[in-house]
Symmetry: C2
Subunit: 338 residues, 2 copies
DNA sequence: TTGTAAGCGTTATCAC
DNA sequence: GTGATAACGCTTACAA
């Protein structure tokens, strides 16, 4: 089923069919157009984009490199990206890198071979070397903090974490723990930096035992919280995302500690689960979906040769039920967690 | 940067370059091969798959139609699909249909135009009409229950829900509510059927007030649970997925009801959050990731013309902390929820 | 307003 | 073992 067969059925040349079907603005007589449309319809003809792309040197496909879609954070970003892509008639190829440099290079190679019109890198895993490989062949943009110098959309995680920690400090907490994401993640590191900054600004000397590195998962948060409780007493905890916070809630509960009475907990991202947990999580809302949308808009801008300014989206602390002032004398915490 | 330039630099013909680079088994002298590889390396040459695909009539791309990636269920399935695809050198184009028939048709059209080598449909949204459109142009397989007759990978949701409900019945519950997913979802309907079947098998006449239809989200579960509590007292609830169950936990807690002492709750899917919630959710584990893997393997089989038998994967009830026998006389429940 | 023909970058076929 | 050449299915000068 090719353009020639449609042309034959409609009694016109392939060129005319192309002009009708490809949305060219070349003039075509109205009834010719109708005949072509009808023929295409009858034959259930779908133009071959490979042929078109080969000629036009653009594919209307973009690639997305992401550590792992099953992480709700990236799933939300992806959704934003895909929505805007779809609006603009672009298809999205998904690549799960697992933060593995070799895997990522391999994906990048494939995307290049497919001659994608753009690449979106999420999760900060794109190296300078990767970027050299891509170099001018295809526009690249990033979501979230990134080592390589490419246009990006992100939030200020340092500031956001500082805000979260300050909330705790203002409630009167002094011994504030931090359940950090993997140190390989720039986002995780930024959130730790904000946490530490808030402490220092409040004149609190951070105790290194307060900081536990772990994974961005419920299980990771659970383990980190247990580790923290073993190390030393704290009256509050800032987790690096909501799943970790939820895991921490569980660990605290297992130790017989009440949230927020014995220990306050703040999460990050404001995923749907945060609002319905018991207690509902105080958390820093990160506009993940919107970040995805803006990222693709940025890519579109770069592709069109327009000026592409980096975008920093705002975060917002949502105070719910998991934070409160510390107990008067929180000996109880010290005792249990000791 | 084309194959001719590589050929020129290596001092050979394009044909030879192709033979070296495309993994053909046509013989090439060892040192010629080396020269070609070197030239390709030096020029950072990436073969153009559009040209290759046009000729070979296969693209090494598959399309995935899914209601919404930000739903963790589909994200997990997608991850399984993408992993196997990647292992076989296939790229995956992601399409979020939002269960919108028009949107889905549009995506299907795009996939057809891109000449994908296969289509995976998830979420049971593929209509018979859609299927006719695709008809023999490209293999199609499905994950989950499906109206159209295509090879599929699924679990027996009726049986799984029956198992969940029976667990409650065996604990001694009689008034068992059901928080159902959207009636537009075949999976949701199957889970309701299993729930009803278990009741009938136990000689319990289902009260229609026990069944509340809602969304597959935490918010949906929360609302459905509130609705149920307003309607009539129940001592147990089977939710149609874990997020709904989590939302129900919250609603119950707001009413001052203890889980599992006052009301037992069972979830569905066994997402990571289920294990760390308080109380930890009793739930029916659904092998989402594995379903994704098997689905792509099925597609590969169909594509290769091999026999493609439908796959039904097992589910497993995981009893944790959210279910227990009902209170002796559960007047308390009736009172509060009345 | 329509048609003819060249060519996008590969690979398969055939000759050498 | 290697090279010339003809497609693959479309779009776009250019000609009519």
């Amino acid at each position: 089923m090719t353009i020639r067969e449609v042309a034959r059925l409609a009694g016109v040349s392939p060129a005319t069919v192309s002009r009708v079907l490809s949305g060219s603005n070349h003039p075509v007589r109205e009834d010719t157009r109708r005949r072509v449309l009808e023929a295409a319809q009858r034959l259930a003809y779908y133009p071959n984009r490979l042929a078109r792309s080969l000629l036009r040197r653009e594919t209307a496909v973009v690639g997305l490199l992401v550590p792992d879609v099953s992480n709700p954070y990236y799933a939300a970003v992806l959704r934003g990206i895909e929505d805007v892509a779809h609006q603009h008639g672009l298809a999205v190829i998904l690549c799960n890198t697992d933060r593995d440099p070799a895997k990522q290079r391999q994906y990048l190679r494939t995307l290049l071979e497919h001659r994608v019109d753009g690449v979106v890198a999420a999760g900060g895993t794109l190296t300078v070397e990767d970027l050299r490989m891509v170099d001018g062949r295809v526009p690249v943009v990033a979501v979230g903090r990134h080592p390589a110098r490419v246009p990006s959309v992100r939030v200020d995680n340092v500031e956001a974490a500082r805000q979260a920690c300050r909330h705790l400090l203002e409630l009167g907490h002094v011994r504030v723990g931090c359940l950090a994401g993997p140190a390989s993640s720039l986002t995780a590191r930024d959130r730790v930096r904000g946490y530490l900054a808030a402490l220092r600004e409040a004149g609190v000397q951070p105790d290194e035992r307060w900081l536990v590195w772990s994974e961005f998962t419920a299980e990771g948060g659970y383990r980190a919280a247990r580790e923290l409780l073993e190390r030393c007493p704290v009256s509050a905890v800032v987790a690096s995302n909501d799943q970790m916070a939820l895991g921490a809630l569980r660990a605290l509960w297992e130790e017989g500690l009440q949230v927020p009475e014995d220990v306050s907990v703040v999460g990050f991202d404001d995923t749907p689960a945060a609002a319905v947990s018991v207690p509902a999580l105080t958390t820093v809302a990160v506009p993940t979906y919107e970040m995805g949308r803006r990222t693709l808009e940025l890519l579109l801008a770069v592709r069109a040769g327009r000026r592409a300014a980096n975008v920093v989206l705002p975060t917002e602390l949502r105070v719910r039920e998991s934070t409160a002032p510390p107990r008067k004398g929180h000996a109880a915490v010290a005792d249990r967690a000791g």
